[in-house]
């Protein structure tokens, strides 16, 4: 951009002052700021990653920010989703996001899409924007966003988080790889826990989301070395940043052979017939409700009750009579379980216990999952057990 001397000034006085630190920054300057203002960026998700991305892109002056989210603000979001406040609990996230962004920078046009991104609407919604920022929290939507970005030729600024670790990259940009080049298939259901099950350090999405915002601005400005062809791995406990190479896969069905010519059913692709909002992946397995469990406990029936959560979760609250065996220790504990008795398993929401029931069933046990876990136990049986 240096050397361009004939840039027309069409920013208002207020904007010139607001963006003054950009305007004096080599490689941004007036032309760069104008590019930022003319950019149209779509944020998929206004959650942990979408929050810092939205705030920094709005502050930087991105002219149009689209936001796709169908969720409402929950108290448990506020530990990391800094776009929303306590007074927003219960409101649609897109409404609270729009209010916060407009307050931060009234020059930004916020386009809200209160819908779940699907194969039916993805091309239409993504097609209206220059750059897509993937801040979703589930595999089906990640593959959907990837395939739609490849088809449309839009850069996909990727970020993902789990517990203390994050990943970031830029997919589908120029000759670079796409998400499928890195991860051809999603994990089988139940093999990789979500943040709702495994937890996440509240500041982590702040770190990864600001990296996504940085990459987005670099793409808009055409400066620097983006993460195209590289995957950034962030380990907050070791505080290490590590980069690995991600080549484009010539056999990738999305961006290589281009076999994928239309968007498919991504929940089926990810083996999730119950959909992304399903509480567990316990299809076909023996299940009881917390109320039924309470009746069987009251009747003093013979069975072994196992809690497969972690010790710190057990301390928050547990069902009397249960034995604590964290999921990772189930295999080692098989020999200590009475094979003549039914084993009933619970966790927080029913997902980890479904995983444990599968392991127990494979080992020959008569195992039953408690649907909805201790959260539903708190609703149906014992409200004194805190939810978390």
């Amino acid at each position: 951009m240096a050397g361009d001397h004939a840039v027309s000034i069409d920013l208002s006085h207020d904007e010139l002052l607001r963006y003054s630190r950009h305007l004096i920054l080599p490689d941004v300057e007036l032309e760069g700021q104008t590019r930022i203002r003319n950019a149209r960026v779509l944020l998929i998700g206004a959650g942990g990653l979408g929050s810092p991305t939205a705030l920094y892109l709005a502050a930087a002056g991105v002219g149009t920010l689209g936001i796709v989210d169908f969720d409402t603000v929950d108290l448990s979001n506020l530990q990391r989703q800094v776009l929303h406040g306590t007074s927003d609990v219960g409101r649609p996230k897109i409404d609270s996001a729009r209010d916060r962004i407009v307050d931060l920078n009234p020059h930004v046009v916020v386009e809200t899409h209160r819908t779940q991104l699907t194969s039916a609407n993805a091309l239409e919604i993504l097609g209206k924007y220059d750059i897509v920022v993937d801040g979703t929290d589930n595999f089906p939507t990640r593959y959907l966003v990837n395939d739609a970005c490849v088809m449309l030729g839009k850069p996909n600024v990727y970020g993902s988080i789990f517990r203390f670790e994050g990943q970031a990259s830029v997919f589908s940009s120029g000759d670079g790889p796409c998400y499928r080049c890195l991860f051809p298939h999603p994990p089988p259901p139940g093999l990789v826990p979500s943040c709702a099950e495994g937890g996440v350090l509240g500041v982590l999405p702040g770190l990864v989301g600001t990296i996504q915002a940085t990459e987005t601005l670099k793409l808009i400005l055409g400066i620097g070395d983006t993460l195209v062809g590289r995957l950034l791995l962030i380990d907050t406990l070791g505080m290490r940043f590590h980069t690995v190479r991600v080549p484009r896969d010539e056999n990738c069905p999305a961006c290589g052979t281009r076999e994928i010519t239309e968007l498919v059913d991504y929940e089926a692709f990810c083996g999730m017939p119950g959909g992304v909002m399903a509480q567990d992946d316990a299809s076909g397995m023996q299940e009881i409700t917390p109320s039924e469990l309470a009746q069987r406990l009251a009747a003093r029936e013979e069975f072994t009750l196992i809690d497969v959560r972690e010790p710190y979760e057990w301390q928050i609250g547990h069902i009397e009579g249960a034995r604590l065996i964290p999921l990772g220790e189930i295999e080692d504990a098989l020999a200590t379980l009475d094979r003549s008795k039914e084993v009933i398993v619970y966790c927080r929401s029913g997902k980890r216990s479904a995983n444990a029931v599968r392991q127990l069933s494979n080992a020959g046990f008569n195992a039953t999952n408690v649907s909805g876990g201790i959260l539903q136990w708190s609703d149906e049986v014992d409200p004194s057990i805190p939810k978390y």
């Binding site: 988080i161 789990f162 990943q167 991860f183 298939h185 896969d249 990772g328």
Partner: protein, 93 residues
């Protein structure tokens, strides 16, 4: 120390909380190193390889910065001092 294996946090449940395995035996290939990993923590290896012994498609294994999928797969050679990094897909946002 011959080769180190770094695990993703999602698998620490199955490695008794250890994030790194330093192997003190000689390994010629990634497969040799994973054999040792499986001896130490079989449940970790179950989540890295399929029952057929292939690398799961939501998992990437890197030797240094390079993915073994674009090298010689599990036969990719390793040398003393190499770090093998296992990276699994995560979906949190």
């Amino acid at each position: 120390m011959a080769v180190s294996i770094v695990l993703p946090r999602a698998l620490l449940t199955y490695s008794r909380g250890s994030s790194t395995l330093d192997l003190d035996v000689h390994c010629a290939t990634v497969a040799d190193a994973l054999d040792e990993l499986g001896r130490r923590w079989p449940a970790v290896l179950d989540r890295v390889l399929t029952e057929q012994g292939d690398v799961r498609e939501h998992v990437n294994i890197f030797v240094g910065e390079e993915s073994i999928r674009f090298a010689s797969g599990l036969a990719t050679p390793v040398k003393d001092g190499d770090t093998i990094m296992i990276v699994a897909a995560v979906s949190g946002g």
